[in-house]
Assembly symmetry: C2
Homo-oligomer: 343 residues x 2
DNA sequence: GAAACCTCGGAAACCGGTTGCCGAACCAAG
DNA sequence: CTTGGTTCGGCAACCGGTTTCCGAGGTTTC
């Protein structure tokens, strides 16, 4: 990114300059100006310089539509969030936008709002605009039907995955994240671990619960009770603690399916006179700073590294656009962030 | 440059067809096909139909670059978030994207990350892509320097405002929101209101505090103590309550500059044995569902209606693109959402 | 001094649509 | 049969660049 002056006044006003105006000012033909600006052809250095300074003087910026028309490339990708732009989409989008911007790509933002009609509308729009590729993101990790069949451009699914195993999908290793959480609890001496999480029909909830159970089993341990499926809410976390305490089975750790649940659990434990982490250690999921840091005590949590995931998705898309596709599912590790709730 | 693949799949969702292919299939000239598809010129209905079904059969979508090239319009706008995409930008962006999508416009997403260099880079990119207009958003309502001088396309500032009073800015009426909050507390019989808010150097904090003080004064009342400036965090809310209780001045309501602060206040009040709303009524700001609903009790809060604000900004931009600019600042009212914390 | 070779830059085709202009074909009227 | 008016659709210029091809002029070589 070359440092430019903030106000190139002559070029800023009115209509953008065209290459023919540049050529006229430099006293050359249009084609020659094009070569000079792109470092093509063989020109006398002096001529090239004359064109360059004319372009600079006029604040010339090539019209991308014209460039697109004969290169076939738009240097643009579409990003479709299948559901509403939310807490999970944002870091994904930021990571992707970052990686694409570094590759001189611009990003079309499309918010499909869980509506298949809108989704297809945006798909058609993007194809009409001849984007070089598409990233599909969403809130849930569950596999979804491909967004289209036999598309002329590469598509990468980020966070969500495509039901077609040949499609390129980038997903977090949620099971691995859950294992890391359990391992950390075991390493700090906990043996009686309960699990409170979201609804059973939610893919993430079952994957994480299953991984937690299996990891405990490989150390010959059982979960305290069954995995407690409920909602992704603080209220459910509080309620679950009341149920746990009522059941009477002792427990010294709770692994939660989300930070919101964990925070509800923390509040309810405190209200019941149980100390965190002394009596009960607590691990959340998502590493959502708003929850994890405001919780008392601050929450150990599993971070899915969504921004890096978005960046990876963008890199894979760029590679596919440049002719090196990486079909199939790709998994990225989660990271455990240790804070006071398990100290 | 790989050679263009010709139709290998019978599926029409495949590679983009050109208008000349449509014309060939329909047995007409290219220009005629164009007229048929756009309802221009005078064609026999039968001919028009033949072209339309040919286009349908090939899944024809006009190449937007070509359309752009001779209309000069891209049907695209840029959206620059000056700071990181976050909690405030999202509803703004969603609202704007919604309104623009309804107008057949696509949106370029640019995340400037509080970096002026990135901002100018994106501005140049957008201008090079000949977007029809630009929306500038950000996290803070404070006026900022114009993003560029004498730009050839309209610019609308949403949430943040431009320091140039001739620029079109759409901002929430934060002072009005604060007044509504105070009025509601007064209407429910509270007389001793404290105010806990964010840092004094933050524009929103001072605007809201000033409005609250003035509204109380117009009823002949004073704030309990001075406005308490601190951070936008729960921890500060908790600390402020300890300070308030320590100071000894009785209070029956706390108006908070954010929901996060309010939640901290709620927790600390409960820990101190004060009941909400019986002993102390509580009003937050932002109506951030995650905080306002999870708070115990659920929080009365001021909603800045950011999504509607984004929609308004987009509508103003569309109007400006179509030749009817609305320069200067525009203010949109806030809405008070009443919940149990002031019941 | 002539032929071969370079250098440099202009002319024009092309990308994929849109649109103004013009002429062919058809019809009715004189 | 000619004239005038209409209808319909083709031709070609144009949008703003990129790229290929080619030729003018200068230089080298024998």
């Amino acid at each position: 990114m070359p440092p430019r002056k903030l106000s190139e006044t002559p070029g800023n006003v009115g209509k953008p300059a065209t290459i023919s105006e540049v050529a006229l000012l430099a006293g050359v033909a249009v084609g020659t100006a094009s070569k000079a600006l792109n470092g093509r052809g063989s020109l006398r250095p002096e001529t090239r310089q004359r064109v360059l300074s004319a372009a600079d003087q006029l604040g010339f910026q090539p019209n991308r539509a014209a460039v697109t028309l004969n290169s076939g490339r738009t240097y643009t990708v579409g990003m479709i969030t299948t559901d509403t732009i939310g807490r999970f989409s944002i870091p994904l989008m930021m990571g992707a936008e970052d990686a694409l911007g570094a590759g001189e790509m611009s990003v079309f933002l499309c918010d499909a709002r869980d509506d298949p009609i809108r989704e297809q509308y945006y798909l058609r729009t993007l194809l009409s605009r001849r984007v070089d590729g598409i990233i599909v993101t969403g809130r849930r990790t569950q596999a979804r039907p491909p967004i289209g069949a036999a598309l002329p451009i590469p598509v990468v699914y980020a966070f969500i995955s495509s039901a077609d195993p040949h499609d390129c999908s980038v997903v977090p290793d949620e099971a691995g994240g859950a294992r890391k959480a359990v391992e950390h609890l075991l390493a700090t001496g906990r043996r009686r671990v309960a699990h409170v999480t979201g609804p059973e029909h939610h893919h993430s909830a079952t994957v994480r619960a299953t991984a937690a159970v299996e990891r405990l089993a490989s150390d010959g341990l059982d979960l305290v009770g069954a995995p407690m499926f409920g909602e992704w809410s603080e209220a459910w976390g509080r309620q679950a603690v009341r149920m746990l305490l009522g059941a009477g089975s002792p427990f010294d750790a709770v692994f939660c399916g989300s930070d919101q649940i964990a925070r509800g659990v923390a509040d309810a434990l405190q209200a019941a006179g149980r100390r965190v982490p002394d009596d009960v250690a607590l691990v959340g999921f998502d590493n959502w700073d708003v929850m994890a840091l405001a919780c008392q005590p601050p929450l150990t949590s599993v971070d899915m590294e969504l921004e890096a995931l978005g960046r990876t998705a963008a890199d894979l898309l760029l590679a596919a656009i440049n002719g090196s596709p990486s079909p199939g599912p790709h998994t990225r590790p989660c990271r455990l962030v240790i804070r006071d709730s398990t100290a």
